[in-house]
């Protein structure tokens, strides 16, 4: 009986706090994504888009990582899902949040260095509590890339080639 009550309490706590935390996190992600979208451009290619004007730019490895955990309620749902199969929505949103957060942190680091873009973005996912009785639970996502730091942002960005670069002009 007591076990059942604890279970119910944990479910309720997990549901309440989990939903609240997730909503808050998504709000913050959306807000920061909006900001960094124009500030730090991210490319997956390994070659800087405007090569040939090379001399006055620095390159630097930047990374961002996050370890994030799913709440009790969602873990229980995922456990049920494992019986019937199908989409495990609770882990989908967990991984989505983790990836976006990791990329945002990387962008933040790049922006601190004064970089206008990050190229050669790579992502890595690892589940750190692997091998323990409680399945996935928490997951780590690492995003890394090379920040291109232009010593003179003004000459580097041509608004005709980068639509968003106008904002960089205004800031400079």
């Amino acid at each position: 009986m007591i076990e059942f009550v604890t279970f119910l309490v944990l479910m309720a706590l997990g549901y309440g706090f989990g939903q609240y935390a997730e909503r808050k996190h998504y709000r913050s992600i959306l807000e920061r994504e909006k900001r960094f979208r124009s500030e730090v451009l991210v490319f997956q290619t390994g070659v800087p888009p405007e090569q040939g004007q090379g001399q006055d730019q620095d390159v630097r490895l930047v990374m961002g990582s996050v370890v994030i955990s799913v709440d009790y309620f969602k873990r229980f749902l995922a456990g049920l899902r494992a019986l019937f199969g199908g989409r495990v929505k609770s882990y989908e949103s967990l991984l989505d949040r983790a990836r976006r957060e990791a990329v945002l942190r990387m962008q933040q680091e790049a922006s601190k260095l004064g970089a206008g873009m990050v190229i050669n973005l790579r992502m890595e996912t690892a589940s750190i509590s692997k091998g323990e009785e409680k399945t996935v639970g928490s997951v780590e996502v690492l995003a890394y890339g090379t920040a291109i730091i232009t010593r003179d942002a003004r000459s580097r960005f041509e608004p005709t080639r980068f639509g968003r670069a106008t904002e960089l002009f205004e800031r400079a």
Binding site: G14, G46, D71, E124
Partner: protein, 106 residues
């Protein structure tokens, strides 16, 4: 020491290729942090202690990679990749590897 994950550095030439260098570290979880983490397993959300732990370990792996590169006379490491694997329960290996090169002076 210049460390990047692209294959060429804009505006600079590779004058010598020195081969693969690597750095790794294995870290175990902290028991105190683990208690906090199990609380988070109920409420959900970011496990800040683990984020920091892994970040520190990764920095150390990068440090070792750079030491190795410096020892063989490189001034840059290109094409760096990261990899994480859990070797035992509660312990993770963080591994960084790349190509050590000598770049010309600017």
């Amino acid at each position: 020491m210049l460390v990047t994950n692209i294959e060429t550095v804009p505006g600079r030439q590779v004058i010598k290729h020195l081969g693969l260098v690597q750095g790794s570290t294995v870290r175990a979880k902290h028991i105190g942090r683990d208690i906090l983490a199990s609380l988070k397993n109920v409420f959900g959300g970011e496990l800040k202690a683990y984020t920091e732990l892994l970040q520190e370990s990764r920095d150390e792996a990068l440090d070792r990679l750079q030491q190795q590169a410096r020892a063989i006379g490189a001034n840059a490491v290109l094409n760096v990749r990261f990899s994480t694997s859990s070797v035992a329960q509660g312990a993770a290996e963080l591994f960084a590897y790349g190509t050590a090169v000598v770049l010309d002076e600017e």
